[in-house]
């Protein structure tokens, strides 16, 4: 089975997130995923990048798209689910992780970051 890899590295700044979303949307579109799924993937890649930006000590965001015949795997380095506990109760970061876990088919955290998987029907 062939695997195609696409790498994207951007400065860790909000300015470039729309570029990542557009690129991700184009990749998903090429895989003939439906509009709803493309929207879901766009939201998730955005949330993964926000997670890295919110850590405030990173210089760049490193993203790898692994295109398989039956699935798209998106790996984003430095995404963490180890959020600092906050007494205020509400955290945007928690919303972000909740959204990713709900919209992707599979989500794994590794020592490098996050792997988000969408299966291609």
């Amino acid at each position: 089975m062939t695997k195609d890899n696409i790498y994207l590295k951007i400065p860790c700044k909000p300015d470039y997130i729309s570029l990542v979303r557009l690129t991700t949307s184009a990749i998903a579109h090429n895989l003939k995923l439906c509009i709803d799924e493309i929207e879901d993937i766009k939201v998730c890649i955005g949330e993964a990048c926000i997670n890295v930006i919110n850590q405030k000590n990173k210089d760049e965001i490193s993203i790898q798209f692994e295109v398989n015949e039956d699935k798209l795997i998106i790996m984003v380095n430095d995404v963490t689910d180890d959020l600092e506990s906050d007494t205020e109760g509400f955290k945007e970061e928690e919303l972000g992780l909740l959204i990713i876990k709900s919209l992707m088919d599979e989500v794994d955290f590794t020592d490098k970051g996050i792997n988000m998987i969408k299966y291609i029907e």
Partner: protein, 109 residues
């Protein structure tokens, strides 16, 4: 993508009408929050957000809306969100924010 914000105060109904056009995301959410809260400081009324021209919202956008809701509640005002597109409405459902905001299908019901 970016965000345009149309804001007006309807005195008869004591209502702040907000029409965001584009994306409320990590790049625009801070500005969105500031603009709406500024308007709210001038006229303490209910806030109606028309989502018909809204294309994209992320967690920072949801956070901005929550901040606006918290401020509105301090004076017992409501935040009503209307006409959300299905892909955005889905985020409110996932995060259960659909139970916190008043969400309606049409802007006039």
């Amino acid at each position: 993508m970016s965000l345009k914000i149309e804001l007006r105060y309807e005195e008869n109904d004591n209502l702040i009408v907000v029409i965001p056009e584009g994306d409320i995301d990590i790049y625009t959410s801070h500005n969105f929050k500031e603009k709406v809260l500024n308007s709210f400081e001038n006229n303490k009324g209910n806030i109606a957000i028309d989502g018909s021209k809204l294309e994209y919202v992320d967690s920072t956008g949801l956070g901005a809306l929550i901040s606006i809701l918290k401020r509105a509640r301090e004076t017992d005002n409501k935040v009503i969100i209307t006409n959300l597109k299905p892909n955005i409405k889905k985020l409110f459902d996932i995060t259960e924010l659909d139970k916190v905001f008043t969400i309606r299908g049409e802007s006039n019901d």
